[in-house]
């Protein structure tokens, strides 16, 4: 019960902050571009979407999302939530209130994840709208009379979420460590760029780099589609298990780092 109260308190703190708007705008960014392309370039796009329109639409959307925007969003949102305390000099009040360190740490981390889940849900909704609304204007689009493979879409969502867990735990730990915003964001961005290069080169250890995991999830899903029909695929790939491992390790590290800090607030 007191953990729920701590989380409510954390959510209230995000009211009117950039963290909330970042989740909205981050989720809307790619669908908005798609929407404009579908409206302004309808002739070409209608031709392109003749076959499997929803698969193409969502495939393109998630590809753009997972490669850069999603990890970047995780880096930013993980930094923004602890920054609410640093910026307002409020850690001391938080630690002087009757909440255990576990309640403080995990309610904040849960808030980060609620934001991430909100952003992912909104992304799906905006992607749907980005296809449906142009279709209402240009009847040539096939979206309205094609079926969406909901099962695949949900699977894609869950696997992408799993693939970003590792990054979230590392970035949250860094963001609690650093007083400044620029520290964790700079480190995160450097690691993200490094992992993009590593993915580009198909480095054999790329599945061990958490910042590459969202892209690897998309690649593995693409590979599944190319494989022979009827082949069994495990729900989680190796890199996704790695992501879960990083998540557990860095969440615990972050918690104990905060728990045993000598000077709080």
């Amino acid at each position: 019960m007191s953990f729920i109260i701590s989380t409510q308190s954390e959510l209230l703190k995000t009211k009117r902050t950039a963290a909330f708007w970042l989740s909205m705008i981050g989720a809307a960014f790619i669908p908005a571009i798609f929407f404009l392309v579908y409206l302004l370039n309808s002739k070409k796009m209608i031709l392109q979407f003749k076959m499997m329109p929803w698969e193409q639409h969502f495939g393109l959307g998630w590809n753009s999302l997972n490669s850069f925007l999603l990890p970047m969003y995780i880096i930013l949102i993980c930094a923004m939530i602890p920054q609410i305390e640093y910026k307002n000099n409020a850690w001391k009040q938080v630690f002087s209130s009757p909440q255990s360190t576990a309640e403080i740490f995990f309610s904040k981390f849960l808030t980060v994840h609620l934001m991430i889940i909100l952003a992912l849900l909104l992304f799906n909704v905006f992607m749907l709208l980005a296809a449906v609304v142009p279709n209402l204007i240009y009847k040539g689009y096939p979206f309205l009379h094609s079926k969406i493979d909901w099962q695949s879409l949900i699977r894609l969502n869950i696997k992408s979420y799993v693939s970003l867990l590792g990054i979230s735990a590392i970035q949250f730990w860094l963001s609690l460590r650093f007083k400044s915003f620029i520290g964790p964001v700079g480190i995160g961005l450097a690691l993200l760029i490094g992992s993009i290069i590593a993915t580009g080169f198909d480095w054999e250890h790329v599945s061990k780099i958490p910042y590459a995991h969202p892209v690897l999830t998309l690649r593995s899903l693409a590979a599944e589609r190319m494989s022979k029909p009827g082949t069994a695929h495990p729900f989680l790939q190796n890199h996704e298990w790695n992501s879960l491992g990083y998540f557990v390790f860095f969440t615990l590290l972050g918690f104990f780092d905060l728990r045993y800090r000598k000077e709080k607030g």
Binding site: I5, S9, L12, K13, A90, F95, S97, Q99, K264
Partner: protein, 303 residues
């Protein structure tokens, strides 16, 4: 069980190996008192208060609040403690009400407490104004409102009047007195200004360079002050006067004058009579009182 709301024993703390920030601090704060925690900047006031709240991990000694050891009963103790440490900790993007709401449920306070404490600190009409638009005085008052949300038994206030204009200082002081008198809240309030403490505290602790130099009631501090009253005397023959007064009155020579400690008016009269009866003309007989300000400076500079 101790009878004190706060009791520390042999509290030692150091941030680095070379320098001790606190040395053997034995704080005793009686229930129902306003304890003025006085010391120059950097004396160890904030360190002590942070230790009381568990914001710093205790290194040596014991801290008991409400008769319970802080390291074992921290959360239970904090449920009955309100605090304000240094600058206000407000969420600048939230309104006064929202700032209180952030902490209301954590302390298990009822919804009505929000309007009660806002009224108490005279901030009930700030409406949709965000905390960042508040003046420093308003921010400080809102911070006190947060500290009062759960009607705590103990308030820990670190320099609550720092940076306030004279009006804000008076308002804060009156609020502290009112809380103590009408709500029976025990308050420990730190300051580096003696006059400030004199005007509201019932008890005083003076800390300097990490050591507690004085601890007692305000009258006890004033008594100490009286002990330090003396007469400045100038005569036609200071050497002879010194000889006369050194034995019975513990006179001292200094800067062409004599200094004689006195406690009563009668003593001053007796000194004068002694001098006149021995044929010494008295040119100057001036009572000098160490005011508390001077005493504070003396206490903190002697060590």
């Amino acid at each position: 069980m101790s009878t004190f709301t706060i009791e520390t024993q042999s509290l030692n703390y150091s941030f680095s190996k070379e320098q001790k920030t606190l040395q053997d601090v034995n704080l005793k704060v009686e229930e129902g008192s306003i304890y003025g925690f006085l010391g120059p900047n950097g004396a160890g006031k904030t360190t002590t208060l942070r230790l009381l709240l568990g914001l710093l991990t205790k290194q040596e000694g014991t801290i008991e609040i409400f008769g319970k050891e802080i390291s074992q009963h921290r959360l239970a103790i904090l449920k009955n403690v309100g605090s304000l440490i240094e600058q206000p900790s407000l969420y600048s993007h939230l309104t006064a009400k929202e700032n209180l709401e952030v902490y209301r449920k954590i302390y298990g306070a009822g919804k009505d407490r929000i309007s009660t404490v806002l009224k108490l600190v005279d901030l009930e009409n700030t409406g949709k104004k965000k905390a960042k638009q508040f003046s420093l005085g308003m921010k400080q008052r809102l911070s006190i409102a947060i500290a009062l949300l759960h009607a705590p038994r103990l308030l820990i206030l670190d320099e609550p009047t720092n940076g306030l204009d004279p009006n804000g200082i008076i308002e804060t002081r009156e609020l502290i007195k009112k809380l103590n008198k009408e709500h029976g809240v025990t308050i420990i309030v730190s300051s580096h200004i003696l006059a400030e403490i004199e005007r509201m505290a019932s008890h005083v602790g003076i800390i300097h360079k990490g050591k507690l130099l004085f601890q007692g009631t305000l009258p006890e501090l004033q008594h100490l002050k009286n002990k330090q009253s003396f007469l400045q005397i100038d005569t036609s023959n200071n050497d002879a006067a010194y000889q006369l007064l050194v034995q019975n009155f513990a006179a001292e020579k200094g800067a062409g004058l004599l200094k004689v400690p006195v406690n009563t008016k009668e003593e001053a009269a007796a000194i004068n009579r002694t001098l006149v009866q021995n044929g010494i003309d008295v040119h100057l007989l001036q009572p000098q009182q160490n005011d508390l300000e001077q005493l504070f400076i003396d206490i903190t500079s002697n060590n």
